[in-house]
């Protein structure tokens, strides 16, 4: 039994924080109100000045298991999530073997039940081995609870294959998540095409490589009557394309944006820093500004990190050879606070809505909320404290993040899920 006194409560419905005591017992929020009586045996926490909010939910993570456990495991990945205040995740299926069948999905979910302290969901492949040719074993995966189909990391190249998959799987209530990229245009290097790619002498990937597929996949979804979710949008015109399709209202489209695309530009790559090498690549300040606008407007339904661990050995290569991707779970919430909430660019309600509520709604899960009768799924956030993202602080097995050794304002103090206190600092 835990009694949090004088916490300020964030919700998706209002930018105003409501001050209240919160009593948590038997895995539920039992009571709320000012000056609640202290029940016998209750642990009392003075939460004055701190913010209580629902646990975050990340709908785009790479836990690398099976196949790449040297980068991340389901255990280390979920501990990184808890470290950052995230209490549920959706894994991407680009593992080895790829998650393209019921048996592969079953093995991952079984693994997660034993080795993760938070619910770990997984998406499944659209095509066998993500090759873009034959359809994956879609219905078998649905039986195990898979809702999202994606060949993440690669675009399903053949539009006819994707259209057929959409027609088929929509019948089962599944939806499609699209990594948008024309490979012939993008090339292999994950650097925005522009002044910076010219300066560094690396073949750039033009934003149109992404924008073409955003448009293509929405059109395919419209034709199939499917729901398409556009992953990690990085460009201004990509955002505007989604905005335009949403305004028409004749196709079900949702979209996500990653914190790093809101925060960094290709200029940050500087002297070939591989911690800024990701796909889609970091673009320009104008793109960042547009993405922020899109997030505030709701063009982006959710924030997701695309948590993509790689070993130090791989990332310490030269820029061309190093793999794409950065980790995000340990750092996302604090970085959103430090760079956006604290400077007044948006309020906590947006964070809760986009990084918790809508992410769960996308997956058809009940939304976590700090309300009497709801299951306990929450975190306590100290806005005055600071977090230094040292190697030791990070719980992800890999530390390929631009935030390494940075100190940012804000700290996740406590994470409670059901009857368990998952984290306490």
């Amino acid at each position: 039994m835990i009694l949090l006194q004088n916490a300020r409560i964030a919700s998706e419905n209002s930018p105003t924080l409501l001050e209240s005591d919160v009593l948590i017992a038997e895995g539920k929020i039992q009571d709320m109100g000012s000056k609640l009586a202290i029940p016998e045996g209750a642990r009392v926490i003075d939460a004055r000045g701190r913010i209580l909010m629902p646990g975050m939910f990340d709908a785009h993570v790479h836990f690398r298991a099976p196949g790449f456990e040297n980068k991340e495991t389901i255990t280390t990945g979920s501990e990184a999530a808890i470290n950052g205040g995230v209490t549920g995740v959706v894994m991407m299926p680009n593992t080895r073997p790829a998650l393209d069948s019921a048996s592969a999905v079953d093995a991952v979910l079984e693994n997660a039940r034993h080795r993760a302290r938070i619910p770990v969901y997984t998406s499944g492949c659209v095509t066998k081995n993500r090759e873009g040719k034959e359809l994956a074993e879609i219905e078998g995966m649905r039986e195990l609870g898979v809702k999202m189909l994606t060949d993440d990391g690669d675009t399903t190249a053949d539009p006819a294959v994707l259209l057929r998959a959409m027609q088929y799987a929509t019948e089962f209530g599944m939806f499609f998540a699209s990594h948008c990229e024309v490979p012939e245009l993008a090339g292999p290097r994950a650097l925005n095409e522009g002044v910076m790619s010219y300066r560094l002498g690396i073949k750039g990937s033009p934003a149109c490589a992404e924008e073409i597929i955003i448009d293509r996949d929405i059109r395919l979804a419209r034709a199939a009557g499917a729901h398409v979710h556009i992953q990690h949008v990085s460009s201004k015109l990509g955002m505007e394309t989604i905005r335009w399709w949403k305004s028409r209202g004749d196709v079900k489209v949702t979209a996500e944006v990653a914190p790093h695309h809101l925060l960094f530009t290709d200029e940050h790559i500087g002297d070939y820093d591989t911690n800024y090498k990701m796909n889609p690549p970091l673009r320009t300040q104008a793109d960042c500004d547009a993405l922020l606008e899109g997030l505030k407007e709701g063009v982006f339904d959710l924030i997701a990190t695309d948590h993509a661990p790689h070993t130090p050995f791989e990332k310490a290569q030269d820029f061309v050879s190093a793999p794409n991707g950065i980790t995000g779970l340990d750092t996302a919430l604090v970085s959103l606070y430090h760079h956006f909430v604290e400077p007044g660019k948006f309020d906590w309600d947006l964070v809760v809505k986009r990084y918790s509520a809508e992410s769960r709604r996308l997956m058809g899960l009940p939304v976590a909320a700090i309300e009497v009768g709801q299951p306990a799924d929450c975190l306590l956030f100290d806005t005055e404290a600071e977090t230094t993202f040292t190697k030791d602080f990070m719980k992800s097995k890999s530390q390929n993040t631009p935030f390494i050794d940075q100190t940012l304002k804000g700290r996740v103090d406590m994470v409670i899920l059901g009857t368990e206190v998952l984290l306490e600092r």
Binding site: E193, L200, V320
Partner: protein, 326 residues
């Protein structure tokens, strides 16, 4: 002013460039003496690490190092296999163990010499990395231009060709601009990106570029081998639109313009054969000056000291190893 490495032109100060060009002049004077060797790098070792074949640059560095009395070793690189960053990392470990004093490196990946420089005590010279930089080429180009125009400020150099893939274009134009030379580009739309620096005017046709009034026309090598996709329809068309044809050579000759090219020349593509006999062609001067410039660079750099080893560096994992989960 001492530096450990020469990785690019962009980070060089004007005084450093002028110092290097002055030194090159002194070294060049040695060439007329019967004994061309001096003991400046006596007892030092220079390692040549060429992941891309290049007879010209390779032998130029080798001659330069030997004239300074250094010991030159070639590190055998298998040109037939694609050499990725991971295997380069193992090589770097080896090189550091060998405690070589200088490493001259060429690689098709931009930024790779910088990575080597961060992980070794050796002085690293970038002999060309991807489409990034080729600093000694830029220095020898500037040196060659200065021999004709001792005060090159306000002179105009027109660079023609594949700007997109050319490290020569990047390094040379950066250096020339630092010396107050005006630079302009001309080339096919597919090879001159629209986002090149705004300080460099971009011409779309030859006549307009000539009207700009260049003093030097610098032809880049068309790297036919590097083009995995087609950037222009045919070599013949390229020569007609962007090459120095016989007719154009006559005009260039009338105007008294100098012609440069980093070599090796694709005859009949960038240049018609007659250019080879053109009196104001500086192509062989460039080759000759390469040696003195590289001597100046080797003599200038200071190997050793604490190198800032990358924090994140850890021993390589076996390719198929997996960590048993708790």
């Amino acid at each position: 002013m001492a530096r450990k490495d020469l990785l690019d032109i962009a980070s060089l100060h004007r005084e450093e460039i002028e110092f290097l060009l002055d030194q090159s002049t002194s070294f060049k004077k040695l060439f007329t003496r019967s004994v061309k060797k001096i003991p400046a790098l006596e007892g030092k070792s220079v390692l040549m690490l060429f992941y891309e074949a290049s007879t010209r640059t390779h032998s130029s560095f080798e001659v330069a190092a030997k004239r300074l009395s250094a010991e030159v070793t070639n590190f055998n690189v298998d040109h037939s296999s694609i050499t990725k960053g991971e295997s380069v990392r193992e090589t770097i470990e080896t090189l550091q163990a060998m405690r070589t004093d200088y490493i001259v490196v060429r690689h098709s990946h931009s930024g790779l010499p910088g990575m080597i420089a961060r992980q070794t005590t050796a002085a690293v010279i970038n002999a060309g990395d991807g489409a990034h930089e080729h600093p000694t080429q830029a220095l020898l180009d500037a040196f060659t231009i200065k021999e004709k125009f001792p005060d090159p400020r306000g002179k105009k150099v027109l660079i023609i060709g594949d700007i997109l893939h050319s490290r020569v274009a990047r390094s040379t134009s950066t250096l020339l601009q630092k010396l107050g030379v005006e630079v302009a580009y001309l080339g096919p739309g597919s090879l001159v990106p629209k986002y090149v620096p705004a300080t460099i005017p971009r011409f779309t046709d030859y006549e307009a570029a000539m009207a700009w009034g260049p003093d030097v026309v610098y032809l880049l090598r068309v790297q036919l081998e590097r083009q995995d996709v087609q950037f222009f329809p045919s070599v013949r068309e390229y020569h007609r639109v962007y090459g120095i044809t016989n007719t154009r050579l006559a005009e260039i000759s009338d105007r008294g313009l100098y012609i440069m090219h980093p070599g090796p020349v694709n005859r009949g593509v960038e240049l018609c054969d007659a250019v080879m006999d053109y009196e104001r062609s500086l192509i062989t001067n460039q080759v000759e000056n390469g040696i003195s410039v590289r001597m100046a660079v080797l003599d200038w750099l200071t190997p050793g000291g604490d190198f800032p080893r990358q924090e994140s560096y850890v021993a390589p994992q076996r390719a198929n190893s997996t960590v048993i989960m708790p």
